[in-house]
């Protein structure tokens, strides 16, 4: 186990390495020296074009989306005191995807650029409120409610596919849902960023309340915590950040589940202390996963959401096995 003191250093190093790798790798191999040199060459030049218009927005998006998922996962786990809570499992990501699909494929985003993030947020909000409302009363009910809401959102997505304007659009929707950061541009990043940041602020404001919830709802309330405010902030923060991020990236699962669990051995279990490290680790995980999609030598680029699910599912199994051991 890495010493707790070395932990911030490790995070920083991983983050920097992740960012550099993300800027340095692509389907097209460009010498890092050439990439760095392109800064000083007369513009536009090809390496600069690729760096500034393709890899930078992609990297920024990986950090934003990864941090969002890590932060939302940690906040939801704290709020529900449930180690399985995660935007994907609670139906928030599918809800956001549904909103975004409706915006993209039924022409709303064409006439109004903000439609995609806003519908993504609306979808996430609807899904999250539905899950929280239906799942009051414990870990199991919450997970079941998440499954139900995810199912509902999946049905909505199927309906959207069903009503796809043409077969090509249906195919493209399916591919988009797999989640990817490839070929995103600055305008998409800038469109989503304000919502993502606003969501982060909401989630960060819950930190102390989440700590109090370590003692259970009754004690938290007795400590002066307004639980309805806490739930609202967590809900709004998750919907804003996950909704906006998903609207740009498609659904990316398991980062929100993995990140908090990865950092707890280092920073302890106090919910407020998990938030920031979990966000950073979410960003790191997504950066590395996205780099992996680019360097795995396949004819078709492996979609990011597919990769995170492939890596995340065994972890989920491990978590389930551990929970089973813990609770007879």
């Amino acid at each position: 186990m890495v010493g707790r003191a070395a932990w911030p250093l490790l995070t920083a190093v991983l983050l920097v390495v992740g960012v550099l790798l993300s800027l340095g790798t692509g389907r097209v191999w460009l010498d890092p020296a050439v990439l760095a040199g392109s800064l000083f060459e007369p513009k536009p030049n090809l390496p600069w074009l690729i760096l500034s218009e393709l890899r930078m927005p992609r990297t920024v998006l990986a950090v934003l989306a990864g941090a969002t998922l890590g932060l939302a996962g940690a906040a939801l786990q704290g709020l529900l005191r449930n180690p399985l809570a995660e935007p994907g499992l609670l139906g928030v990501s599918p809800g956001a995807a549904l909103g975004a699909v409706i915006a993209i494929y039924f022409g709303l985003s064409g006439s109004f650029a903000l439609a995609t993030p806003m519908l993504g947020i609306a979808g996430a909000l609807a899904a999250a409120s539905l899950t929280l409302m239906a799942g009051r009363g414990g870990t199991l009910t919450m997970i079941l409610a998440g499954v139900a809401v995810s199912g509902l959102m999946a049905a909505g997505l199927s309906l959207a596919l069903n009503f796809a304007p043409n077969p090509y659009a249906a195919y493209e929707m399916t591919i988009w849902l797999l989640g990817s950061l490839a070929d995103r541009d600055w305008s998409q990043v800038l469109l989503a960023a304000p919502f993502i940041l606003a969501g982060w602020v909401c989630l960060a404001l819950t930190a102390r309340d989440l700590d109090a919830l370590t003692l259970g709802e009754a004690q938290a309330q007795s400590l002066g915590i307004d639980l309805s405010r806490t739930r609202f902030l967590a809900l709004a923060g998750t919907a804003l950040s996950v909704g906006a991020a998903t609207a740009v990236t498609g659904t990316i699962g398991f980062i929100g589940l993995l990140a908090p669990h990865l950092v707890r051995p280092f920073v302890g279990h106090q919910p407020s202390r998990v938030l920031l490290p979990s966000a950073l680790f979410g960003a790191i995980l997504l950066l590395f996963a996205d780099v992996a999609t680019r360097i795995i030598p396949t004819a078709q680029e492996v979609k990011l959401g597919v990769l995170t699910s492939l890596v995340g599912t065994p972890f989920f199994f491990w978590l389930v096995a551990r929970l089973r051991r813990m609770s007879p």
């Binding site: 005191r81 102390r208 700590d211 109090a212 919830l213 370590t214 003692l215 259970g216 009754a218 004690q219 309330q221 007795s222 400590l223 002066g224 915590i225 307004d226 302890g268 279990h269 106090q270 919910p271």
Partner: protein, 260 residues
């Protein structure tokens, strides 16, 4: 000097009064044992008096102000509450768990100020948990966790303490320990209300008893005058033998009514 008053407080759930027109006045220096059969409304009354529940009728007041109108944070600074079987949801260290009791006192931003660390250390010391300081709270035994939770409640030095069944599930030594601690707090001038099932401990250590039955307050008064066999027979439907209520050697014994 604090004072809690209940004026005809009523709580209804699904058309049934769970707490039905209860009038009560409790002051600092009292350890009130809230007793009564299962489902008598003890926990609900405690939540009401803690200001966590809004009464459907009547009002509960702290020092003359309706509890529900007091700012949550201000209230949290003077009143501590422990629910039944409190448990730690995350394996945080005992020290962190106890420090959570200082949340209402914390500045808006930043961590625990230096002078508060000393208060946590004192609370741990008082609860005899200094050795367990770094242990995850989820690995504590029932008695230890109970002490840790009480330390959590007391670390902010509240004037008023409401505890729901603090002795449930404790072995005799820890139960005795717990009630003695509560009594000591009352003797220090705090207002303590604890719902109890162990009537012997209530008879020995409580300064006052409040007896709930079917949502109504059946009796309230100093232990020696109130905790009588007649009352127990009426409320618990058992024949009881009460000796020396209000003294450290009091006992309460039951026999089923049918046996006589």
């Amino acid at each position: 000097m604090s004072r809690i008053e209940a004026e005809a407080v009523t709580v209804e759930r699904a058309g049934r009064a769970i707490v039905d027109g209860v009038n009560l006045q409790i002051e600092s220096g009292q350890l009130v044992a809230l007793i009564g059969p299962n489902g008598a409304g003890k926990s609900t009354l405690l939540s009401l008096l803690a200001g966590l529940l809004r009464p459907d009728g009547g009002s509960a007041k702290l020092d003359g102000a309706a509890l529900t109108s007091i700012d949550r944070r201000k209230l949290a600074q003077v009143r501590a509450y422990l629910p039944q079987n409190p448990r730690a949801e995350w394996p945080v260290s005992v020290e962190r768990l106890v420090a959570l009791g200082l949340l209402p006192q914390l500045p808006a931003f930043g961590g625990l100020p230096a002078h508060m660390h000393a208060r946590v250390a004192m609370a741990l010391e008082a609860a005899d948990l200094t050795n367990h300081r770094d242990q995850p709270a989820t690995t504590l035994s029932g008695g230890e966790l109970g002490r840790a939770m009480l330390a959590r409640a007391l670390v902010g030095d509240p004037e008023v303490l409401l505890v729901d069944e603090p002795l449930a599930g404790l072995d005799p030594r820890h139960a005795l320990d717990g009630i003695i601690r509560l009594r000591a707090l009352a003797d220090e001038g705090k207002l303590v209300i604890a719902s109890l099932h162990d009537l012997t401990l209530a008879a020995r250590y409580a300064t006052h008893v409040a007896v709930m039955s079917g949502g109504k307050l059946a009796a309230f008064g100093p232990t020696s005058l109130t905790l009588t066999a007649a009352l127990l027979r009426q409320v618990f439907e058992v024949d009881a033998c009460v000796t020396g209520a209000g003294t450290p050697t009091a006992t309460v014994d039951f026999v089923p009514q049918a046996a006589l």
